[in-house]
Symmetry: C2
Subunit: 233 residues, 2 copies
DNA sequence: ACCTATGTGTCTGATAGCGAACATAAAAAT
DNA sequence: ATTTTTATGTTCGCTATCAGACACATAGGT
């Protein structure tokens, strides 16, 4: 298992010496779980390159209900869509789901870098490309699959992005992520625990059996995992 | 009401004389409803600039169920995500929902144009940007809103993209689009008809009262409509 | 006029999830 | 040690949707 290395795949894919010149302009920062990396409907202040930890992009409705539309780890840059062009406001906000170590930079400055450097732009475009395809799959998954399948998918993806089987998340937060009620998550998690695929206690979830948990997840887990492969290869 | 003009907003936003040189390399074509513009998991043969009509991008699961993840009219280029870079296979296929008049071009040729021309690339990036934001909203909508709200949203969006109140679609196809069962669509459509917001008969749906239909739709209609505004402005 | 495809209405029973309430338990704060 | 906050377990009735079946209506082809 072990923690992922503190690398960001996009930054590491940049050619030298350009990579070093970028790093020198980045601010290394550690933020606690719950930190909002950027807000919905606002121009983002910073762009973030995650080194370790995960963050969720979430869309909230006016009645307060919400659903996760993307889970981000140490690949890519956030918010990558907003770098592409035009007005930079979107319906999603981004929240750290655990302690995150990241490099950050003023968003307008990174927009200028996107215009200036073809090497950097190409990597951002690859990131946006993959992420759009992943989002496509998740959009359909949100409609077609039930809470237990989506919970299993989410746990496996979170494991892949963090390298740990131990996730610190309450069922209430998982309900926001999955776009379901807390009681629905409790039932789904209880069903997975009864089958000994996971265990949990008060905000700590542990994956016990990856192979069988994959069987409980919808096909979207595998589809998305394939899209994550060779992100910049 | 009346039909939309036979223009593609992206093409029309190109500066002259470059625009004319692009047009000269495009093939003008009319395709019937049901035509697949590109398949899932395959490298697309053509890129399409729609002039009139609408097409749906759909994701299908292995059990045969499917959901629409995007509705495309005379803005933009399809498949815009695949132009961004890297491997060009995605989980979505694209189907014409009515007769489409479009300009098409070999996909690899348009990829080269994307690399070559900054003016063209900028417009594609704006398209991909807006579309990613719209897709984000739809991904959450698919999870959080019921069939009747989503049906109302879809009908209004289809109207906005085609300029007509008369849509030729069976409830069976609407079920595929909305990711629901045909009987669920029948119930939702029946409820809207009882309130005199729409009328329909055998594959023909008509919007009767836009204002009140908007009231029956979820907030996602307005959110997405705002994102469509000033696409290239 | 007939047949056939397809679209629609409408039943069933079954299930997933909602929405709200309440009890318990564990951690955190004082 | 006590209080407060938060997380989880569990109940209830209710609704939306599923899954399957069948009847009927309509449009198109012959």
């Amino acid at each position: 298992m072990g923690q992922r290395p503190l690398d960001n795949l996009l930054l590491e894919a940049l050619p030298q010496p350009y990579r070093s010149s970028i790093y020198s302009r980045l601010e290394e920062i550690v933020v606690p779980p719950g930190t909002v990396l950027y807000e919905a409907d606002q121009i983002p202040r910073y762009a973030w390159f995650i080194g370790s930890g995960i963050a969720s992009t979430m869309v909230s409705m006016s009645d307060g209900r919400s659903a996760e539309i993307g889970l981000w780890g140490s690949d890519g840059v956030l918010p990558c869509y907003h770098l592409l062009g035009g007005m930079a406001r979107g319906p999603a906000r981004c929240v750290a789901q655990m302690e995150i170590k990241a490099w950050r930079i003023s968003f307008p400055e990174l927009q200028r870098e996107f215009q200036r450097s073809e090497a950097f732009r190409d990597l951002v475009l690859r990131c946006a490309h993959r992420r759009s395809l992943i989002l496509s799959q998740i959009a359909a998954c949100n409609r077609l699959h039930d809470a237990e399948q989506r919970l299993a998918r989410w746990l496996l993806t979170a494991h892949d992005l963090t390298g740990t089987n131990q996730l610190s998340l309450s069922q209430g937060f998982l309900a926001d992520i999955l776009g379901s009620r807390r009681t629905t998550v409790t039932l789904a998690a209880g069903a997975l625990r009864r089958r000994k695929l996971i265990s949990y206690r008060r905000g700590q979830i542990q994956i016990l059996d990856h192979a069988r948990l994959k069987g409980a997840a919808c096909e979207c887990y595998g589809t998305v995992r394939n899209l994550f492969q060779n992100f910049y290869g």
